[in-house]
């Protein structure tokens, strides 16, 4: 399978959130700071890749009738591993994401990829699918975090970037981020649930606009090419 094609599908043309429109609960809930967004995105990426590999490796053994139950057990196992690792090594992230880390179990992206992709494809393809789909998810989270944080409180990279004593990245969630304009001028409503719904709505709307536009352009280009070919034939 073509890796470039897979990469493009995961990030743009078959993006889990913007095009498949699944896994939206966590997307809207945790995108308040860049720290949360990157942490959640990478956690999902790791879990998705592991689950994809296991499901693809077992795809010939799993009986069809109880496949969903088996997928759920596999996913729950990896989610528990990641949850415990985060609690041990990055407790600030675990505290910030709270119940949304264990809730990755019911995130439709993972079970959706297991059902739609890994059942029919080899381990290697499924591994790359996990990475690219996870990257697509992370990108959406990062875009939403950056937008909501900037508009909501005038900051960039809250929790992740610390500029108090020189520029550095922190993993304990204490970084204040880069203040771009004073937070009093921000629309603090963007940090509340309202902002989550609105930002995701606008983002999916934008994506649909872009996809329609490129589809139209492609059709026009095809038509122009066909016309040119027809003209050439007439000339000949």
């Amino acid at each position: 399978m073509n890796r470039k094609q897979q990469f493009k599908e995961g990030l743009i043309t078959n993006n889990p959130v913007l095009v498949q429109q699944i896994g939206m609960c966590a997307t809207m809930a945790i995108t308040t700071t860049l720290f949360n967004g990157v942490g959640m995105g990478l956690s999902v990426l790791i879990i998705l890749t592991c689950c994809n590999v296991v499901v693809a490796a077992l795809r010939k053994i799993i009986p069809d009738e109880i496949r969903l139950a088996i997928f759920v057990v596999v996913i729950a196992g990896f989610v528990t591993i990641v949850d415990l690792l985060l609690q041990a090594f990055i407790p600030a992230l675990s505290a910030a994401l709270g119940v949304f880390i264990p809730l990755i179990v019911v995130n439709c992206i993972i079970i959706g990829r297991a059902e739609a992709f890994c059942q029919k494809n080899s381990v290697k393809d499924s591994f790359f699918d996990g990475i690219f789909q996870g990257l697509g998810y992370t990108c959406v989270l990062v875009i939403m975090c950056v937008f909501r944080e900037l508009v909501g409180s005038g900051r960039f990279g809250g929790g992740l970037i610390d500029i108090a004593n020189g520029f550095r990245f922190t993993l304990d969630g204490t970084g204040g981020g880069i203040q771009i304009f004073p937070s009093e001028y921000g629309m603090s409503i963007m940090n509340l649930p309202f902002g989550g719904f609105l930002t995701l709505g606008l983002l999916i709307g934008l994506m649909q606009y872009a996809l329609k536009r490129s589809e139209k352009n492609r059709k026009e280009a095809e038509r122009a090419a066909a016309e040119a070919a027809a003209l050439k034939e007439v000339d000949d």
Binding site: C25, A29, V105, F197, G201
Partner: protein, 194 residues
């Protein structure tokens, strides 16, 4: 005790509504809110499953997992309980109330992957609720979900007849209108009863 229960109930239904302030259960919320009828049926099924799941998972957590020092397996155990429960409810409805069963259709098995159900069970553990409190939180959380989905279904029925940019067709316009409903629910935030 009674005071506690009332404050949990009001919190779950209005102040910390599962959908509009905690974002739990957004997928079925957006998927099944086309019509008020289906929304009501879905809401009722979720109330039932959330109440039962909270009760059963509390018992399993306190009488099996904690005594055996297996609390780290909570997520795994809970999702299995919920999946079995939904299967059971499905079989029961098929036999006893076939009309509701056919009305809910595909959305019934999908309750398993509704994050509100797993969310309420995990929040019960996180908040250290006792049995009665867990049950109350489960049922009222479900009622909050039902309130949100029924309200939003009527909003959506009106949105269908209004004009909006073509690229907002489908989910985006739903999300933007949900944002406005969420803004209305913000009016409850910060309300303290006791």
């Amino acid at each position: 005790m009674l005071q506690n229960i009332i404050s949990i109930s009001l919190g779950a239904i209005l102040i910390n509504n599962f959908i509009f302030s905690q974002f739990l259960g957004c997928c079925p919320f957006l998927g099944c809110s086309n019509k008020v009828d289906t929304a009501t049926g879905m809401g009722l099924a979720v109330v039932f499953v959330m109440g039962l799941a909270s009760a059963i998972c509390w018992v399993i957590d306190h009488y099996i997992l904690i005594p055996l020092n297996l609390a780290f397996l909570e997520t795994l155990a809970f999702i299995l309980v919920i999946a079995a429960l939904v299967q059971f409810v499905e079989m029961f409805l098929k036999k006893a109330v076939p009309s509701l069963y056919s009305a809910l259709g595909i959305y019934l098995p999908l309750i398993t992957t509704n994050c509100a159900v797993l969310g309420v069970v995990l929040l019960n553990v996180q908040n250290n609720y006792n049995f009665i409190e867990s049950l109350t939180y489960g049922i009222t959380g479900g009622l909050g979900f039902m309130l949100a989905i029924v309200l939003f279904a009527s909003v959506r029925e009106r949105v269908q007849f209004s004009e909006y940019p073509e690229c907002f067709e489908g989910f985006p316009i739903c999300l933007v209108s949900a944002a406005l409903v969420a803004m209305a629910f913000m009016g409850f935030s910060g309300m303290k009863i006791f």
